[in-house]
């Protein structure tokens, strides 16, 4: 384990997609075990930040650095970052018919273990863990043998993201609007899943529009993103303020 205090430190990051600058000089530091929420109006660059951290090839880093566990990761590809413990919960998870959820998860888990020099998980252990985690987030067993997200409702897809997160046990989970499209019950089960990992010193970057999720998972910090920069940071009360007043008052100043 790294003794590095900072899990993630982003410095003066500038990112463009198709030559359009989306992230423009962003700074952010996240320590082990912390939960940060990133809020902001549509088009402020929240999803781009998430995709950039996960290594999406269309996000072109123009300037700045991303350090994870003290190491620069901008040159690492997508799967290498995942194996280092970075997980992205997708805003719109894709459907992959013909690939079953459980086969996908097992392949992913074993790829990560292999790159970390660990042995493959046994079938028995895998199934037990899968069953336990499915229970935590209230997912029916029958979903595990269906195609990845195939014919899943919006809420089911989000639950599936959380299931993958629980199975892969990342150090840093970036959840891109995982709360959108969830009803209150689903929100609670998702929050359950997150809180169970939080206890084990996992860190989270929660990208969200509303403070609903944040009432179940109290963040250590809340940041407001606008035009590709963090324009305000505060504690969890900032989220409540935003809920009352919107973003206008911050952006105008």
């Amino acid at each position: 384990m790294s003794k590095e205090k900072n899990l993630l430190s982003i410095n003066n990051l500038k990112v463009s997609i198709a030559e359009k600058v989306i992230i423009n000089g962003l700074n952010l530091t996240l320590n082990h075990g912390e939960v940060h929420a990133i809020m902001g109006p549509n088009g402020s660059g929240k999803s781009t930040l998430a995709k950039t951290l996960a290594g999406h090839p269309e996000c072109c880093i123009q300037e700045g650095s991303i350090k994870y566990l003290g190491k620069e990761i901008t040159d690492l590809n997508v799967e290498e970052r995942a194996s280092e413990g970075i997980f992205l919960g997708f805003q719109y998870p894709v459907e992959i018919p013909g690939l079953s959820n459980s086969v996908f998860l097992k392949t992913a888990l074993n790829s990560q273990r292999k790159s970390q020099g660990d042995d493959a998980i046994t079938a028995v252990d895998f199934l037990k863990e899968l069953k336990d985690n499915a229970e935590i987030i209230g997912m029916d067993q029958s979903f595990l043998n269906r195609g990845v997200n195939e014919g899943f409702s919006g809420g089911e897809k989000k639950r599936n993201e959380i299931l993958q997160m629980l199975m892969l046990k990342p150090k840093l989970s970036i959840l891109d609007e995982t709360d959108s499209g969830l009803d209150i019950d689903a929100m609670k089960t998702v929050a359950n899943g997150l809180n169970s990992m939080r206890k084990k010193d996992s860190s989270f970057l929660l990208i969200t529009h509303y403070d609903r999720l944040l009432s179940y998972i109290k963040p250590d910090f809340v940041h407001v993103l606008s035009k590709g920069q963090i324009i305000k940071s505060g504690d969890s009360t900032l989220a409540n303020q935003l809920e009352e007043k919107g973003y206008e008052w911050l952006i105008q100043t």
Partner: protein, 426 residues
């Protein structure tokens, strides 16, 4: 129709030799007469070329060259010494091999399977063989008849539900022209499963002709794997006629040949008949696969569904030509035709042309064709879980094929296709 000046065929056919050879293969009078008629017509046939709409994307020249070059070449394969010929099966399925112009089998065949050579009811065989006479003849179908020395006849009884899977293995290990003829007739309310496996280990030409007739309420599940040598050729014409409430379901996988050409004509002649065609075609290197399908809705309330998926690697090429024709009287027709293609290299090519020809207003018909590289967002999703790019690509290709294989209900056949998928896509 074909332009007459295409007649300038590139091959120098020794007609008389072919005729003598053809007649030497059989002894029965009626068959000799059929061959003489066929030969008379064959001489006047035009050789198909790229000028024919149906052959637009397939260069017939090497195919014809090879096909006729091997036609009169007498050759005996080494298959008789092969273990699988002498081994007795340990399950209830039936194995029939087609080698060196004959259908062979180890076990005693059940009464619903006969061959031309061992059938004692020649009148019935004659009727079945001549069934296709009204159809359009091509030089290839005529050549099949000329080279015919045996035929496999599967004819179920009324109400007969057959559990055994009939494996038909068409094979060769030497360079030869292979002309199997299959005649399949399902009587009322019967059902059967057939698995045709084309397996060659030399540059052969398979030129097969299959006639299928499904009577009222019958169901035929047909499985086919084409696994040929890269320098082989594969030609097949299947004519399928479906009577009231009968069903024909096809699952096939074509790995390609130098040229693999598959024509399937389905006539839904009476109400409530249904046809389901599921196909994977996966050529690599410079292989070429050409699928030509004609679905004709004549009866009311019939259903057709076509799911053709191409996985094209390297410099391979593929063709999908699908026509669904809905007759004036075919009210309440339901038809879905889809051709999806994965192009795995910048040099792979697909020509796709789904056509709907509809003469009745009361129908639900859809058709779609998509071609493209692997979905970038799906790749990113898989990689973001820690799976490397080559594996992620493989997973996506496999899932594309697997989605179709998973539709197979029969567990024995599903396993065969899954194993084939595993073997092909690793």
């Amino acid at each position: 129709m074909v332009d007459s000046n295409i007649m300038k065929a590139p091959i120098n056919l020794d007609n008389s030799h072919l005729k003598d050879y053809s007649l030497s293969l059989v002894e029965t009078d009626w068959l000799n007469n059929l061959k003489k008629e066929t030969f008379a017509r064959f001489k006047t046939q035009n050789i198909p070329s790229k000028k024919d709409e149906e052959w637009r994307y397939t260069n017939t020249e090497p195919l014809i060259q090879k096909c006729f070059e091997l036609a009169t070449k007498k050759s005996i394969s080494n298959l008789k010494n092969n273990k699988s010929f002498t081994q007795k099966n340990n399950n209830d399925n039936i194995f029939i091999y087609y080698a060196d112009g004959k259908f062979c089998f180890m076990d005693k065949l059940p009464p619903y399977i006969k061959t031309l050579r061992n059938s004692d009811d020649q009148v019935n065989v004659e009727t079945l063989l001549k069934l296709d006479d009204k159809k359009i003849h091509s030089p290839f179908t005529d050549l099949n008849t000329l080279l015919l020395s045996d035929a496999l006849i599967i004819e179920t009884l009324k109400n007969q539900k057959i559990d055994a899977i009939i494996h038909i293995i068409i094979c060769s290990d030497i360079e030869q022209n292979i002309s199997p003829r299959l005649l399949i007739k399902l009587r009322e309310n019967s059902s059967i499963r057939i698995f045709e496996h084309c397996l060659t280990s030399n540059s052969c030409v398979i030129n097969s002709l299959t006639e299928i007739n499904c009577e009222k309420n019958s169901q035929l599940d047909y499985f086919k794997i084409i696994d040929e040598q890269e320098d082989g050729y594969h030609l097949n014409l299947s004519n399928i006629r479906l009577a009231k409430s009968s069903a024909f379901n096809l699952f096939s996988w074509d790995s390609g040949a130098k040229i693999s050409r598959n024509n399937i004509n389905v006539d839904l002649i009476e109400e409530n008949a249904s046809v389901n065609l599921n196909n994977l075609f996966s050529p690599n290197e410079k292989l070429h696969i050409d699928n030509q399908l004609k679905i004709k809705h004549i009866g009311e309330k019939c259903e057709s569904s076509l799911d053709y998926r191409g996985i094209l690697k390297d410099q391979s090429t593929g063709v999908f030509g699908g026509t669904v024709y809905v007759d004036q009287g075919a009210a309440n027709t339901q038809s879905n035709m889809a051709n999806r293609n994965l192009l795995l290299s910048d040099h792979a090519r697909i020509n796709t042309k789904p056509v709907l020809e509809i003469y009745n207003e009361d129908v639900q018909c859809t058709h779609s064709a998509t071609s493209g590289h692997l979905d970038e967002e799906k790749l990113f999703y898989i990689q973001s879980r820690g799976i490397g790019e080559p594996d992620a690509m493989n997973i996506l290709i496999q899932s594309f094929a697997s989605e179709l294989v998973e539709k197979i209900k029969n567990s024995h056949m599903k396993r065969i296709f899954q194993e084939y998928l595993f073997q092909k896509m690793q």
